[in-house]
């Protein structure tokens, strides 16, 4: 069976790749494009470790067939920072020790980035609901929620 050619934009760069019809976008991003920040946890859309932005909407890459990426604009965790300059959210995760083993962290960073884009001042409840699709088995979530709140406060101050 011939493979399918897909053209899309990933982290700001035009990208072409070949994929199988039943290949997942998650595996393609990792194996073809080397974007290993995106993780596979469950592979069924429950854990959020493979969270990406596709056309500015938060998605699980494991729930997307690779050919569906045609013509889309994708951001993975690798595309959040500007070179070595981390985003306030990433800095707050580091400062607040909002991670332990780190497997879930890329997904949390992408999901929280999506939240803060449309809600710059979320309540704790809003943060917890927005991150309900991301599972962490280490932190108990508290430090993650606090890091998101702190990042939101810093970003509001910076834009004021």
């Amino acid at each position: 069976m011939s493979r399918i050619q897909v053209s899309c934009t990933v982290n700001g760069d035009p990208v072409d790749f070949l994929c199988d019809a039943d290949g997942s976008l998650l595996n393609t991003l990792r194996d073809e494009l080397g974007l290993t920040g995106i993780k596979e946890g469950c592979g069924t859309g429950d854990c959020g470790a493979c969270s990406i932005l596709m056309d500015d909407q938060l998605h699980c890459a494991c729930l997307i067939f690779a050919p569906e990426a045609t013509g889309t604009t994708i951001t993975t965790v690798e595309g959040l920072a500007d070179g070595d300059h981390l985003t306030p959210l990433q800095e707050c995760f580091l400062e607040g020790a909002a991670l332990q083993c780190g497997i879930c962290t890329p997904g949390f960073l992408v999901a929280a980035t999506a939240l803060l884009k449309h809600n710059p001042n979320p309540t704790e409840t809003e943060i917890r609901y927005a991150l309900a699709g991301n599972l962490c088995r280490c932190t108990g979530y508290d430090k993650i929620v606090r890091a998101v709140r702190e990042a939101a406060a810093q970003m509001r101050e910076a834009s004021a």
Partner: protein, 290 residues
């Protein structure tokens, strides 16, 4: 497996005429099913590149929602949420924000889970499924007539749902959907209850619809509960009678999420609570046409 992304309904219908070819919208069920060992079809037809299937339109007479429209676009539609808050809340309960970018009313309906959250809410609002047929035409089925059992629908091979349409809500009409899950988020309904009521100017119920999810092989419309509400002012006696009728209509399974007795009881409790919310919403629309 082959992957097709047609841009018209006609093209999709033509592809579906091939053997062992299936449609998908968000794939939030299809991909986990294949991962769990279900055989892959020969080909999958992606419906999301057909404009008509990813759109929300309102006319004076009705709303038309493309079957593959992501539910995130429904929860983000203030006018739709104001007119059908219960329907939009039910759609918004499907999975996480990540899943909301993919899940759709058409997919939730045709995956045919008895616990599908949007289905009781669609039933109480009289939502109709417009179905593309292999001959190139369409037919229309009430949403409650689409599921045939867990994982099965009354669509014949080659058919797929194109859009869901719902008449504009009459004056003094409110809907509500409540579900019970063991966690706060990200779980499957133990029981779901949808209620819609229409009031007259004195606050008496002139029309009512009650539908339950996760308590039988398909969504259940409970006409005895509707009869208990109609003519009442949603007083205690009417609410208790509706709750009892809802419990009596249950034919649930026993599983780790809930026993038969528990589901049966909760169906009554949620019906009562949803009726109260629907009544309050209807009263708040007093005088306003919509």
């Amino acid at each position: 497996m082959k992957y097709f992304a047609p841009s018209t309904v006609e093209e999709a219908a033509g592809l579906l005429a091939q053997p062992n070819t299936k449609v998908f919208a968000g794939a939030t069920d299809v991909i986990p099913q294949i991962r769990a060992g279900r055989p892959e079809p020969e080909a999958l037809v992606d419906l999301k590149k057909i404009d008509r299937l990813v759109s929300v339109q309102r006319t004076d007479a009705k709303w038309v929602i493309g079957a593959a429209t992501p539910t995130a676009r429904l929860t983000g539609n203030a006018e739709l949420a104001a007119e059908f808050p219960g329907l939009v809340e039910a759609a918004g309960l499907i999975g996480s924000d990540q899943v909301q970018s993919r899940s759709s009313l058409g997919g939730n309906l045709c995956n045919a889970s008895p616990a599908a959250d949007s289905v009781p809410a669609m039933v109480v609002n009289g939502v109709r499924a417009v179905i593309a047929t292999p001959g190139g035409g369409t037919r229309t089925l009430a949403v409650e007539d689409v599921p045939a059992g867990p994982g099965r629908t009354n669509l014949v091979p080659g058919e797929f749902v194109v859009e869901l349409e719902v008449d504009r809500a009459p004056a003094r009409t409110g809907d509500a959907y409540l579900r019970l899950i063991p966690r706060t988020e990200m779980d499957i309904a133990v029981v779901g209850a949808g209620v819609r009521v229409t009031l007259d100017e004195s606050g008496t119920v002139t029309d009512a619809r009650v539908a339950l999810g996760a308590v039988a092989p398909t969504v259940v419309r409970v006409q005895a509960a509707e009869a208990a509400l109609i003519g009442s002012k949603l007083d205690d006696a009417a609410l208790a009678a509706a709750a009892a009728a809802a419990s009596a209509a249950c034919n649930p399974i026993d599983d780790k999420r809930g026993t038969i007795a528990y589901r049966t009881h909760v169906a009554g409790v949620l019906t009562r609570r949803a009726a109260v919310i629907a009544g309050q919403r209807a009263a708040e629309k007093n005088g306003a046409s919509r």
